[in-house]
Symmetry: C2
Subunit: 481 residues, 2 copies
């Protein structure tokens, strides 16, 4: 049954939280759960709870949650598993609304742990407390600037990430951060003893600040509800998932890791296809795919125009076709229009369009891309980042300031036009870099700020475009039915 | 027919070179071909040739190659296509031994260009000049510190990269550089009017400093010789290739790009399999695969031990099985040995072995890995980088210097032991990071220095291990026959 949004708000937007099992040992979770939110901007009340008293990270402690003077929305619990039922009862008595159970030693350890987990959950359910975990690593909720999962707070953004692995999910989110991707919410869901992945997805489906949801799934609990929630959510926003335990040996490991039964991968794959869930082939592809959905229009079809010099265009095109996209040949009229826009030594324009490595300006590239976007048989563009001749291997001190100004103007204005094209033509543009060193290419930053994703490799571009096209097809079929 | 090694030495280790078509216009190839080798450490003679005289990048020019006083090993030619036959004849008259033809406008442009190319090649052949290109972007040869392909000289190393795309190949090499991978040789081969990819592979097969060869191939000229050379070379070193033009639309583009006929991908794939060529699925995977071959022993089989916390181990294991590697279950004796080495809350050791996210030292991890390497049914290891508790989220100022010293000692000594294990057991170790920020993990740098590859994702580890295992199988079958 769906928990009401208000109940999960107590977890993701708490006004106050108690850290039960707070510790002054900096190597312990009980310390980090106090220190991290304090240090990374959480504005609500933090109450460390420790029977021995004293101060932790500069905050006075309380001997029990019931000693806390004001109301407590959320309890973050790090005590030993055996103490959790007792602590949970105290939380019920206090009127706590939600709990994050960091503590491990429950269902993932076997029969006895499972019994203990059942006991704690029964107390929580009777007292109306909804629980994250146990055996989890906490959350990041940009809605409350609440971070207990990461050493540094992630950059806020519109991607939500629900992970069945704490350490690995944290690493994935961390890597995403180095690419500049912002996170709305991160949830390490642990054993899902109470709240399940489906509950979080449903909650986030109502959150207007969440543009796309990523899942790291090992095994699904209550498959029917999970897939029902996904079906409804996909009407509003895309869901991208990576499935761990897809191999027999991997599935063996998920059992001891998060007490999950990975199930048949074939069945899972076929349900994903039916529903339109976007399944990433590799774990780290999830975030690269997600970012494409945040600011680009969905392509009306699968026919892609490719712009790129030499091998770049060839590799983009190969990747498109491998992923089920089409790269149609151009009509003769378009060929003659493009011929005038390309440098004289460029080969006869076809699709992919080859710029022949010449030093053109962004204005020229915007012209070429616009010519392709106007075609009713082109649904989206994969292009290199428009060149900025000023950062190529030229020696600026040997170019007159007049020419420099002219190149700068054509680059700036061309880049602006390039960035406007997706909105004008309601078709997406996805770009691939020229340079390994991002500093060498300020145009790439401008593109990203305008919402055009910029990837390192042609294959990443094609994967993102295929995800957009597939999701677009799903949305069109939903609207038609 | 094979060109003798000595002839290609004139191209890759020239004592002197003439730049024909040298220019003082910094935006032109004729400038860069003088400037780049001059600026990036080439120690031989550079003679700029320009009929108008003057100086270029501080060097006096010669009106013709025949005006140069000393001998000229290599001519780098950037003049217009129509002038190339004439210039080539002058080079023959001068006694030049090799040429790099940057100039475009030959076979890639159609019938007329092809005739011009034939004419120039006939003159070169009659005069005994071997040619790179035309329509190429030059080379990097660390043997002579000769760079005309890149704005900055690549870091020297043991990977050779032969690319049928100049711009894209350059970008791939550039990206590889940002990962710290060193390059022995880069060759932009252009139209292969004289020297073909097979010739370069054969030449590099004799070069002891070349540990592995990467190819970006669009279409193969003289397939029989290409595959014969590959077969022989594979007896000495691995060849990793990415094939552009594997899709119909991609193949359409290779024709105008490098005048290549991409051919049937199914046939190509089947020949690669038969020969044991390592075919990368994506362009940028080539370098990540290559680096694994440089310092790790080849695994005696395909059975992998996986060490990783939670989802990391699960994802590594899934990727291994997807790629045809095995992740065997452990025998009971090993399980009981490992149980003593793992933290008490870790799940019962299986394969993958789960460290359960605990703060252990590198010494503990070396113990676990050694336990696995001793097993006759384990052929290689995929592991996380051993942890260094000193860079975790601990506050060092709150730890006594005595404990810090102890942790440092266990980390340093454990890391050293970890690094020695591949040599002791003749089995490879491949690692995946914990941190997006490399600075946070000095252990990763120590590993890389010792030759253990460290990748960003579990899937990269599995791909590298599969490449090692497949090549190892080829070598064993070669030795048996």
């Amino acid at each position: 049954m769906s928990p009401p949004v208000e109940q999960l708000d107590y977890i993701f937007k708490p006004k106050s939280m108690a850290i039960i099992g707070a510790s002054d040992n900096i190597a312990k979770w009980g310390y980090m759960m106090v220190d991290r939110p304090l240090r990374t901007g959480y504005q609500g009340q933090i109450y460390p709870v420790n029977p021995q008293g004293g101060t932790i990270a500069g905050l006075s402690t309380y001997r029990s949650v019931n000693d806390i003077p004001g109301p407590v929305d959320l309890a973050v619990i790090t005590v030993q598993a055996s103490q959790v039922p007792h602590v949970m009862q105290e939380c019920v008595d206090k009127g706590v609304k939600g709990a994050i159970l960091i503590s491990a030693g429950f269902a993932e350890t076997g029969f006895q742990g499972n019994a203990l987990q059942e006991k704690a959950m029964t107390i929580a359910a009777m007292g109306g407390i909804r629980c994250v975990g146990p055996n989890c690593m906490g959350i990041w909720s940009s809605a409350a600037c609440l971070n207990n999962a990461f050493d540094s707070a992630p950059k806020p953004g519109r991607i939500a990430f629900i992970s069945q692995s704490g350490t690995f999910g944290g690493y994935m989110a961390d890597m995403a951060g180095t690419k500049g991707y912002g996170l709305r919410t991160f949830i390490s869901i642990g054993n899902q003893a109470d709240l399940t992945m489906a509950d979080y997805i449903e909650y986030l489906s109502y959150d207007n600040e969440t543009g796309v949801i990523i899942l790291y799934v090992e095994g699904v609990k209550d498959g029917r509800r999970f897939f029902d929630v996904c079906r409804e959510t996909l009407k509003k926003k895309p869901i991208i998932l990576y499935k761990g335990g897809s191999s027999p040996a991997g599935a063996r490991a998920t059992m001891s890791h998060t007490a999950s039964i990975a199930g048949s991968d074939l069945v899972f794959q076929s349900v994903c296809r039916q529903l339109g869930l976007i399944r990433a082939e590799e774990s780290f592809q999830t975030f690269d795919l997600a970012v494409a959905f945040l600011a680009q229009p969905l392509p009306p079809g699968k026919r892609i125009g490719v712009l790129g010099t030499g091998g770049q265009g060839v590799v983009s095109t190969d990747a498109c076709q491998r992923l089920g996209l089409e790269v149609p040949e151009l009509d003769m009229e378009t060929v003659s229009v493009l011929k005038k826009l390309l440098p004289p030594h460029a080969p006869l324009p076809t699709n992919p369009v080859d710029f022949a490595g010449s030093y053109r300006t962004a204005m020229d590239e915007a012209d070429v891309v616009e010519t392709l976007l106007k075609l009713d048989y082109i649904d989206g563009i994969i292009s290199n980042v428009p060149v900025n001749p000023l950062v190529w291997s030229l020696k600026l001190d040997q170019i007159s300031s007049e020419i420099q100004d002219k190149i700068k103007k054509l680059t700036d204005e061309g880049t602006k036009r390039f960035c406007d094209l997706p909105r004008i033509y309601h078709k997406p543009i996805i770009c691939v870099r020229w340079y390994s060193d991002a500093k060498k290419d300020p145009v790439a930053d401008t593109l990203k700020e305008s919402g055009i994703p910029v990837y390192d490799t042609p294959e990443q571009c094609a994967r993102a475009m295929a995800a957009l096209a597939n999701y677009s097809g799903l949305r069109r079929s939903q609207e038609a039915s």
